[in-house]
């Protein structure tokens, strides 16, 4: 279990469980946490695949600066998972590698 419910200094936390979806799979979160925290608690570390190379990416800075954790939330793209509160019934999708028909023969990646 990777949730810290009992902390020697910060004490206990008990938050309500809620459900949301990642790529249409049901996940459990605690109310008041970010999408990034909820996914990590579900052992999900890959939040998107790089649009050009397809390399997997996860949270990096966790404070809104690096934009590595951007996901699609309820139809809205480019949402930072680290800055956004997870809500009941939320549908989160991971960004996939994009087809790049015009890039062929261009710069190699």
């Amino acid at each position: 279990m990777n949730r810290i419910t009992d902390h020697p200094v910060l004490g206990r936390t008990e938050k309500k469980c809620i459900e949301f979806f990642l790529d249409d799979t049901k996940m459990t979160a605690r109310s008041g946490e970010t999408i990034a925290a909820a996914l990590l608690a579900n052992n999900i570390r890959t939040l998107r695949y790089h649009e050009a190379s397809g390399s997997p990416r996860g949270i990096y800075c966790n404070i809104g600066h690096c934009f590595e954790c951007r996901v699609e939330v309820d139809g809205k793209t480019g949402v930072r998972a680290c800055m956004t509160e997870v809500c009941s019934g939320m549908r989160v999708y991971r960004q996939q590698q994009l087809p790049r028909p015009f890039q062929e023969g261009g710069r190699e990646r």
Partner: protein, 88 residues
Amino acid sequence: MMDRETIICRCEEVTYEELITTADSYHCSARELKLRTRAGMGICGGRTCRFLIEDAAEESKEKVYENIPLKYQPPVRPMRFDEGGKNK
């Protein structure tokens, strides 16, 4: 020594190799290096790699900057078209 294949700009996946070979062949400023390699031009606006690009550019070898070499431009966060200018 850093592995040359290390990615410096995470957004655009520009490697150290690409940065130094470009800087060496064009003897370019940080700004030109950015435009040539797209390093620092990705969605995070260079918040992660800005200083590394400045150092990789040729000119930075001796120069100590008083002012900021790579300009900061608005918007400082990527803006969604449906958000800009809305009033709540």
